[in-house]
Amino acid sequence: MKRRLTPGSRLRLPTGTEALRRVRHNLRTPINPILGYCELVMEEAGEAAPAAFRAGLRRLHQTGRRMLKLTNELFSEQPTPLHHLTCREILLAFRASADEVAASAGRLERQARSAKLPVAARDLHRIRTAAGQWRKRIEELLAEHCE
């Protein structure tokens, strides 16, 4: 991060619809490929894939849904528990989900390569990339808007 978060700092989201729309768009955009590729790999791998691989995909999808929930709560127009957290606490919550998605996708990518599923491996690699984008964007958002 370009700027360290000071203890107790709070997120001050930009006022004005256009600015808020932009940051919300930037954070929601990487979640679309995370969930979409996960569902696509589930469809394409189907019943032929090992049970552990399919179970891993389901867990990955659940973590992706958690990323979406965090994003929606952060930008909710109604008060949510996330709004009471400090910036450091928000950062930790978001990083934990992003890192879990990246780690799970990495494990599944290796399994897909071992199982000779190159397309699934490539799609899982893309999920890791999108999780990294999401992590970077929340870090940038907090660096810019925490006071």
């Binding site: 619809t17 808020l20 729309r21 919300r24 768009h25 929601r28 955009t29 979640i31 679309n32 490929p33 995370i34 969930l35 979409g36 590729y37 569902e39 696509l40 469809e43 394409e44 979406l68 930008f75 127009e77 799609d123 893309r126 990339t129 999108a130």
Partner: protein
């Protein structure tokens, strides 16, 4: 086979969504920005357009307005796609001429239901392999 024009600038979203649509039996043409979307819509006459709204060169609102203003393409249904998902977005998309609206991340089955509702009647696409 129904032909969909997908206008989407994000490479991962374009790849993922086009593959999912093709698995469900749709023919998919791709455009990377709003201007290309308008041009391809006129040239290829798709059965339906899925239009991302936040696009470079020409945004999706303007591209939809042009598609709906042109006699050759105004009959083609347009579904807006956006990650903004804030209050008023759907109204804004409909004002531009979009026939329906879907927020990202895409709930794929819901999107398919919207496609089926807007596509002209034709033989059902083959089931997913």
């Amino acid at each position: 086979m129904p032909k969909i024009l997908l206008v989407e600038d994000n490479e991962m979203n374009r790849d993922m969504l086009s593959r999912r649509l093709m698995r469900r039996g749709f023919e998919v043409a791709l455009a990377l920005d709003g201007a290309e979307g308008v041009a391809l819509c006129e040239q290829t006459q798709p059965d339906l357009v899925i239009m991302d709204l936040g696009l470079p060169v020409m945004d999706g609102w303007e591209a939809t307005r042009r598609i709906k203003a042109a006699p050759a393409t105004r009959h083609i249904p347009v579904i807006a796609l956006t990650a903004h998902a804030m209050t008023g977005e759907e109204e804004r998309a409909r004002e531009a001429g979009c026939d329906d609206f879907e927020s990202k991340p895409v709930e794929f089955e819901r999107l398919l239901a919207k496609l089926r509702a807007l596509l002209p009647p034709s033989p059902a696409p083959p089931p997913a392999p």
